[in-house]
């Protein structure tokens, strides 16, 4: 969970289960077609298979819920975010809080002092950053691949996500993932990681 959600740890196990199920299914089909030995399956085998699938369903639900609940536990209550003016990021456990307006077709980022920057936001390496994101026109998406995180924005609402900024300085893509009109492909911004790394403690 270095970068919030993402394909590591439990999610990687889920990925492996999915691949294993797919390979097992395809192998079973290939063997049924090519292997000379015939095999009469029984209902109890199917019941056993369903029990296995139910176990995988429970495992996936518990795992996914535990992952996103642990992630969401770091998010402030929505009421605390209204407008985010006066919101104390440090007290809420973040190094930085950024207000984001998504529009057709770009992003504007406001830092805590109200300074705006279009399609780029600067953070320090390793910082824990809270994004409070709003759309004032249509449904947009907000995705940071380096943070392995996506949210969808309804007009008029506030969506909040937090990330741990990458440790390596550089420019990281931010993109809209929801079709929002003709300029959707151009709706990109950059997470600019620069400066001194965040000091622990």
């Amino acid at each position: 969970m270095q970068y919030a959600l993402g394909l590591s740890g439990d999610a990687a196990i889920m990925f492996a289960i999915t691949v294993a199920l797919g390979v097992a299914g395809i192998l079973a089909l290939a063997m049924a077609l090519a292997w000379p030995k015939r095999w009469r399956l029984r209902y109890r085998m199917e019941i056993g298979f369903v029990v296995l699938l139910l176990g995988l369903v429970i495992y996936a639900d518990v795992n996914s819920s535990r992952t996103y609940q642990a992630y969401e536990a770091n998010l402030p209550e929505p009421a605390a975010l209204s407008g985010t003016k006066g919101f104390d990021a440090k007290r809420a456990g973040f190094d930085r809080a950024v207000r984001v307006y998504a529009f057709q077709w770009g992003f504007i980022f406001f830092d805590e002092s109200g300074k705006a920057s279009r399609n780029a936001v600067k953070v320090a390496p390793g910082e824990k950053v809270l994004f409070n994101i709003m759309s004032n026109d249509v449904i947009h998406g907000f995705n940071i691949p380096a943070a392995q995180l996506t949210t969808e924005l309804e007009p008029g609402g506030v969506s909040s996500i937090w990330i741990r900024a990458p440790d390596t300085p550089g420019k990281y893509l931010i993109q809209c993932l929801n079709y929002c009109g003709l300029g959707h492909a151009q709706m990109k911004a950059w997470l600019v990681v620069e400066g001194a790394a965040r000091q622990e403690g």
Partner: protein, 526 residues
Amino acid sequence: MAGTTTARLEETRGPDWKPEDLLGRLTLGELLFSNDYRVIALKTILTSLVMLALGGLFALTFRTELAAPGIQFLGARPYLGLLTLHGMIMVFGFLIPIVIAICYYMLPGSLKTGALHWAGAAQASYWLLVAAALLLIIARPDFTWTVYTPMSLRVGGSLVWMGYVAVLLVAVSEFLAGLVLLRNVFAWKGRWSGMPLMGWGMFSEALLLLLSTPLLGAVGLFLLTDWLGATALFDPVRGGSTTAFLWMFWFYGHPAVYLPLVPAIAILYTLLPRFLGRPLWSYVSGVVAFLLLLVLSFVVFHHHFQPVVSKHSWVQRAFQILTLLIFIPSTLHVFNWIASLWQDRIPASARAALPFKFMMGAIFFLILGGVTGYLNAQISVDSSFIHNTYWIPAHFHAMFLGFVGQMAVAGIYYLYPYFTGRLYDERLGNAHFWLWQLGIFAKVMLMYALGYAYFPRWVVDYLPLAEWTTAQWWLTVAAYAIGLGFILFIANLALSARRGAKAPDDPWPVSDVEADFGKAAAPAAK
């Protein structure tokens, strides 16, 4: 369960139809307006193939644009217009009607009713769909098939209203098709416990259509009235709600993804025992899987927009569990087919038959696409690399083209002698088969890889990242392979209708089943 036993024996019997040159003896008037179920099926299949050609041509055009980053020859407006037409025409004009049409043909034979009841409603359903397709092509809206508001109210130019009307017409057309199917299922005279799986499939399909399409109709109607300014239900600037839109649209939208899937499954259940010359492994398992799929398909739609909330409540968790559960009935179908294949030797006649090959390819892609449903359902993973990246088109192209499209092709090759009185060309058919398997496999796997690399959907241009550009180029090559396979398919259908060998009375004899049964009779599963 005497009825069940009867159904199991019926599964293996050959069809009641005889090969005939139906296509050759029909006048244009008869083809367009006859209420004979065979003609309605033929007409709808031919129209759906035209839609497939159009949808495929649109796809090849924008795929060529996407072969390299930057704008090559299409601007954003034509690109998104083609993308919208591709999605809508493929789903509403090809996938759903073609498998329903094949079932229109098979249902009266399977249920021993001899005719399609309420054929007039089937005609109306067909013509409304044609009207909807024409309106869409004239309007060329750029709001994609999901018509998300308020975006869809602010795009598309002065003709965009035709797009909303088309959505409404599609809903009415599909509702009528649901009525026709339900009426014909109720025409079954035997016990329901003995009704062929084609009947159970059509029962599920009818309820899916009848219960979901009113919401699509309402979406089309309210889009129109919102656009005209008479209402403001979906526009938040004027007091409307995008949440209401999302819930209404996806209440149709998720069952809708099963609308092509369920008839394709029913066709597979109908054809498999006929090629194998023995009953399916389990009738009961098939019925249970159909009913579970029907019930669960109405209660999973929220996963289409689950990252829209910052803090997930019990509502999202309930949808997560239900979405995970729908994995099970789909798996039961696959389990049943593989168990049917495994329980005894596969006749050489089946192995040589092109429809059987396409059926096996279809099962392969159902596994390849369906298995990722397990990941897609999980909010934590969906909020990472899945939601609205190319992972999603990979999933549904495997399901739609890999499974439904290939089952439609299997059904067409199977019915070909009954429509033309002739046999198709084997060599052309095999070339089509391999081009499609390789092309679709490459397409699906490359889309999965691009999704995993966070390539966004619906973009005409993209950054020249190494992990994106190479995959996009090969994806375009794969699309052309599929296109070439389609050309061979159509050429085969057209040329063989005149030059193909005359079909024998039973075009699908089972070659060595007696010898196989002699070695190991297959009792019902216990």
